[in-house]
């Protein structure tokens, strides 16, 4: 976040360009008052979340050692109070330094609730409990509207969806869910301006929801990349992978359009498609590439770094798991390496020539 003065100058310039432009001065000033001094600082959010998790663990330790879990009714009452407290604190004050407290209240309440619902006395199915958790998280997002709590709720909802799919052995649906997440993430990242303009709620939820969705998407395709270790055997993942490749082509097209690169537009798209085709059975690799590309397109550092790390990890994992002799692996990698180097030398000339013009 830059300073309020900069923003005021910027507002004036917008007004000059378009006389019908109007803004709520008081609301904007209030926004700066609550957030000034690092409202958006990543390290502070990470600190709040880690602190919240640590405190939750200690608190749950206390609840169990004190035997508070023995009465289900009491446990549910306590969990509701904690969830309500977490949401209320966020909604009422919306201050960044209170995030740890509201996160601790919310997560420990939610965990107590889940444990009460699956306990011996109530014995509800895990699917039903997942649905309840999703509903509670959605309510929390709608009411609290703060960054950290929204981000955590997005991750919780994604986790519950995965739990629903996996505990019911509906592995085929994971293909469709992952493909759907690819589409959703792409649309959210590419349409930042439209979503911001859509209203106050989408505008304030945009940042935490977008990074939360990106992280959730990574967790979805990770199941395909790590099949060997999770013991959950899925399809070979061609459905999500094809959708992801189409999404990548769409983003590349948008980039070319934005940069006014009309020359070779279709040749570039075909080349990208051809390079990606061998990865058609590796949604983890194409998915990481999509995240990386989206992060760079909108210049969002966290998303970009997430994409790079997951790309490096899943490429290594892929070749490690590949059931080929080392000789064949070595030939495949050497050939791809040479291909990328050729592309580099080819485009380098083109890019350099472009620069001179």
């Amino acid at each position: 976040m830059k300073s309020k003065d900069n923003t005021n100058r910027f507002l004036e310039s917008l007004k000059e360009q378009d006389p019908s432009f109007e803004w709520k001065e008081e609301a904007i000033a209030a926004e700066y008052r609550t957030n000034e001094g690092g409202g958006t600082s990543l390290i502070l959010s990470v600190l709040s979340i880690l602190g919240g998790i640590l405190a939750t663990l200690a608190f749950l330790g206390f609840v169990f050692m004190a035997g508070l879990y023995k009465s289900v009714a009491g446990q549910i009452a306590l969990s509701m109070t904690l969830i309500g407290f977490g949401i209320w604190l966020s909604r009422q004050y919306g201050r960044v330094f209170l995030d740890t407290l509201s996160v601790t209240g919310f997560i420990s309440g939610l965990m107590l609730l889940v444990m009460a619902l699956v306990s011996y006395e109530l014995d509800l199915s895990s699917s039903f409990v997942s649905v309840i958790t999703i509903v509670v998280s959605l309510i929390a997002i709608a009411l609290a509207q703060t960054r950290v709590l929204t981000f955590i709720c997005v991750l919780i909802i994604n986790g519950c969806m995965l739990q629903l799919i996996l505990s019911n052995f509906a592995y085929g649906i994971l293909d469709i869910f992952t493909a759907g997440m690819a589409v959703l993430v792409t649309l959210v990242y590419v349409n930042e301006a439209k979503i911001i303009a859509a209203g106050p709620l989408p505008a304030s939820l945009y940042s935490p929801v977008s990074i939360g969705l990106a992280l959730s998407f990574v967790s979805c395709f990770a199941f395909f990349g790590l099949q060997r270790y999770t013991g959950i055997s899925l399809s070979n993942g061609w459905i999500p992978s094809i959708v992801i490749i189409v999404a990548i082509l769409y983003v590349v097209y948008r980039v070319l359009y934005t940069l006014h690169a009309t020359k070779f537009r279709y040749a570039i798209l075909v080349a990208v498609a051809l390079v990606l085709l061998p990865a058609a059975f590796a949604p983890a690799i194409t998915g990481s590439l999509l995240v990386l590309l989206l992060g760079f397109y909108v210049n969002h550092k966290t998303t970009f770094v997430l994409g790079i790390l997951s790309f490096i990890y899943f490429v290594i994992q892929y070749y490690y798991d590949l059931e080929l002799t080392l000789l064949v692996k070595s030939i495949v990698m050497f050939a791809s390496g040479i291909l990328f180097l050729l592309l580099y030398f080819f485009t380098n000339k083109k890019l350099a020539a472009d620069e001179k013009i």
Partner: protein, 319 residues
């Protein structure tokens, strides 16, 4: 157009009748990457993938136990590749970036060379002396390269060598001692890089300093936390003293440079250490409630304090 960030655009969009098309224009002008950035990105992506895959292809080729080749032929092949890559770096007229990436490739090939050497002469592929040799022979390249990713590789190698040395050779070293040595060594590297960067002798990217600082703080936290549950020893006490000094220096430096990264990770490390200390004192239910309250309270206080600091720095800039 003025200096405007993504967050500002979101706030204005939230409280105005700004049209989507206009927001899109503002985002593209002030936030999104422009043509030169994309050019740079594509070049780095292709060159890294190219050199990365080619080098891994070669590594896999040597990992594949091809029995027909004579041992000298194997060694000559890898040495030839290392020399070829190094020759390219020295004599090629290509851009700086491709030469730096190729040098990093050659650095990894040097590891392959020692692995092949180990394979031929049966020294084992994960012995500490393999990593030691690799580290020593990279030193000169690392110094002249001016390429931070290669520095990171070098720092990882030094740490790996030390940890393997501890595991394979020194049975009489305590865990505390190796933690102390790792901490001291990495602190020295971090201090050196920070000094060089402050005196403008060397351009050290922030991410490298942050990764290194995170590693240093993790080693200190782990060392002290595991030490708390054991009998006090000399290395443990030295580690505590050094940690206190380094944390103090880290916070001081951060206050001078007006950055909150160091204070944030140092505070969190201290919170974890104090939590471990509390658990060591007692593990009954009351203590867990106290810990929960302590963590929430301390993190809240730290975040509030750091926000106030940032605000005062912002005001200074304005004033």
């Amino acid at each position: 157009m003025g200096d405007i960030g993504r967050e500002d655009i979101h706030i204005i969009g939230k409280h105005s009748n700004w049209q989507a098309g206009e927001i899109d224009k503002a985002l593209k002008r002030s936030i999104y990457n422009d043509k030169p950035s994309w050019r740079r990105f594509i070049r780095i992506l292709l060159i890294t993938l190219g050199v990365g895959f080619t080098v891994s292809g070669i590594v896999f080729f040597f990992a594949y136990n091809w029995a027909d080749l004579h041992k000298f032929a194997k060694l000559i092949l890898v040495q030839g590749l290392v020399l070829g890559a190094a020759g390219f770096v020295i004599f090629s007229k290509s851009g700086m970036l491709i030469r730096q990436v190729t040098l990093t490739g050659a650095a990894i090939l040097t590891g392959v060379l020692f692995a092949v050497f180990g394979q031929v002469y049966q020294t084992g592929a994960n012995a500490y002396d393999f990593f030691l040799a690799w580290t020593i022979f990279l030193t000169l390249w690392v110094l002249v390269s001016g390429f931070p990713p290669l520095w990171l590789l070098f720092i990882i190698l030094i740490n790996t060598t030390l940890i393997l040395y501890y595991q394979q050779v020194t049975y009489h070293w305590s865990e505390q001692l190796i933690n102390l040595i790792l901490f001291t060594l990495n602190v020295l590297i971090l201090t050196g890089l920070t000094m060089l960067s402050k005196r403008r002798k060397l351009q050290v990217p922030e991410w490298l300093l942050h990764v290194l600082a995170l590693w240093v703080v993790s080693v200190a936290t782990y060392g002290i936390c595991t030490g708390i549950f054991k009998k006090a020893s000399v290395p443990f006490i030295v580690l505590i003293v050094l940690t206190v000094i380094c944390y103090g220096a880290g916070v001081r430096l951060a206050l001078q440079e007006k950055r909150i990264f160091y204070p944030a990770i140092i505070s969190f490390s201290l919170i974890i250490i104090i939590t471990c200390f509390l658990i060591d004192v007692s593990t009954n239910e009351g203590m867990f409630l106290i810990i929960s309250g302590f963590v929430v309270g301390s993190v809240t206080l730290v975040v509030k304090k750091l926000m106030d600091l940032q605000k005062s720095w912002q005001d200074e800039v304005k004033g």
